[in-house]
Symmetry: C2
Subunit: 325 residues, 2 copies
């Protein structure tokens, strides 16, 4: 199913909250998983695709980078899909990630597929499944874009092979809103806008990130996180960025770390989804919701321990379920 | 209840897994919370105590530090309780955190209370509740000790006012097993063993941590994480450590950040405990456990999506509950 129309329809299906759509989506995914699994055995490669996460604060130039970088990897014979997780779109009304108008050239290319984030913010589960669909549609490179605030970048880091952080040519303390820990989980830090009047600032920023990284602990023993300067606007550095990413991909693959990482990510997501579905069911009960609100306030004020409140909620939830029948 | 005997009994009660003990424990905690809440209103201070987390790799000298530092703050007129979260004790059979024999002077002092970690590893919920009990027993400083591996230091960071990381006088890349992100969540980094032959190495390490911190993002706008050299063995630097900690405490308190932080921590723990209790109930069902094992393997191998597996598990769990009646 190389057709973009069918891919878009399939993604809409997995994003749907309608019960019959959900059943259909799971059937479709199951067929795909079987086929992928067979194919993996056939070609002796459980990860023939490359999943790249790209995060960075608003205004750093992610769209321009994706446009240029995407065109570059297309020129290398790849097919690229761009997905987005955007926790801000519903709340702040900020710019829409993955917006096609921000990547005009890439979005019209036959071998590229861009999926803007849904207006309500795209759920992690949907993105995980959309990625599987894109890979089935023979996009061998998946780029997942997010902004570096809130929880979204941790979520993205936990569903991709490589996590790339894009930063402006400025000191770390000048960057607003970057989440704690994001530097430490990055496999590659790209300093953008490294040209013209910012060339020197970018050099300094890159040097400082390099020394900061020296003191942080890499997530895998086979790869030391790198720092790279590019200018998306001037279209320079795309080749180096891709070279470093490929290096990472091959090192991770040869060492067996990549398939281990993917397996562990899948297991993590399974448990995360079990938790979140249980909490969803809990929160979809109006009466329990009201109780939770009251208890939450008490807990926040220090009038009740977290444990006591949790016991209450779980007791009532499980009692309700037993009564439901 | 200033009596250590009753405090120890109360903590044993909240740690118990027996159902009647649990009920008793919740009643006791509820009485205490009410009293604390009343007192907070009376004195106009919702956080009259100070909760300090201390983490660091094995062998860094945490026990010696706690012994000296504890004696120092006792000399300043405080009462100190030392608790431990130790994820390793059950698995690796490593040294027991909070072991009294490792803090001989402190453990015999009337104004100190040391609770060694239970042999099965101490659960976060128990530690949260033990801390409340210690505060009710008029220990105004709570030190929560953990080793800097696994998830324990994140857990500790999320239950204390200030998170302190202790490191050896060595380069970041030479420290084995320190968890990613731990440097970034630290409010204070203490380089220990900064004397004798290690004096220079400690100075270098401190300088490198200082520049690494410059590039990371502080968790609160009112405090910039600090780096300090001490020598627990030579009993030097305890006054400076305490001075910095008090500075942090007062800045956080005056700005209102401390009570906000505690409220948010309590809320976080409530949700975390709801999740973990739901998962506990799920995992205590033998049949579901077997299913989960099978699905987990399939998910790990890439034969099934995480979402599909999660749906299965949750469906069967909730169906079982409806049937249970």
């Amino acid at each position: 199913m190389k057709d973009r129309y069918y891919l878009a329809k399939a993604i809409t299906l997995v994003e749907s909250t309608r019960k019959d759509h959900k059943v259909e989506a799971q059937q479709l995914l199951s067929l795909i998983m079987d086929a992928q699994h067979e194919r993996a055995k056939e070609i002796g490669d459980s990860a023939p695709t490359f999943r790249i996460g790209l995060s960075g604060p608003p205004g750093v130039g992610k769209s321009t980078f994706i446009e240029r970088f995407g065109m570059y990897i297309l020129s290398q014979g790849h097919r690229v899909a761009v997905l987005a997780i955007d926790p801000s779109s519903s709340k702040t009304g900020g710019s829409i990630l993955g917006d096609k108008t921000r990547m005009p050239e890439l979005s019209y290319h036959d071998d590229a597929y861009i999926r803007p984030s849904a207006s309500h913010g795209t759920l992690a589960r949907n993105t995980n499944e959309a990625m599987i669909l894109c890979e089935a549609a023979e996009y061998d490179i998946c780029l997942i874009e997010t902004i570096g605030v809130g929880q979204s970048e941790t979520i993205v880091a936990e569903m991709v092979d490589m996590f790339v952080l894009m930063v402006p040519p400025a000191g770390g303390d000048e960057i607003q809103g970057l989440k704690k820990g994001i530097v430490e989980i990055s496999d590659l830090i790209i300093v953008n806008k490294a040209d013209g009047e910012f060339a020197n600032a970018a050099r300094e920023a890159a040097a400082e990130y390099t020394s900061a990284l020296k003191y942080l602990h890499p997530s895998t023993s086979v790869w030391n996180p790198q720092v790279l300067r590019v200018s998306a606007k001037a279209n320079s550095g795309m080749d180096n960025a891709w070279k470093l990413m490929q290096e990472y991909y091959h090192v991770m693959k040869r060492s067996g770390e990549l398939s281990k990482k993917r397996g562990e990510q899948r297991r993590l997501w399974m448990w995360r989804q079990i938790s979140s579905e249980l909490l969803d069911r809990l929160n979809s009960d109006k009466e329990i919701c009201e109780l939770v609100d009251q208890l939450e306030q008490k807990v926040f004020n220090g009038e009740m321990t977290s444990g006591t409140a949790a016991d209450h909620v779980v007791d009532i939830f499980t009692r309700k379920y037993s009564d439901a029948k």
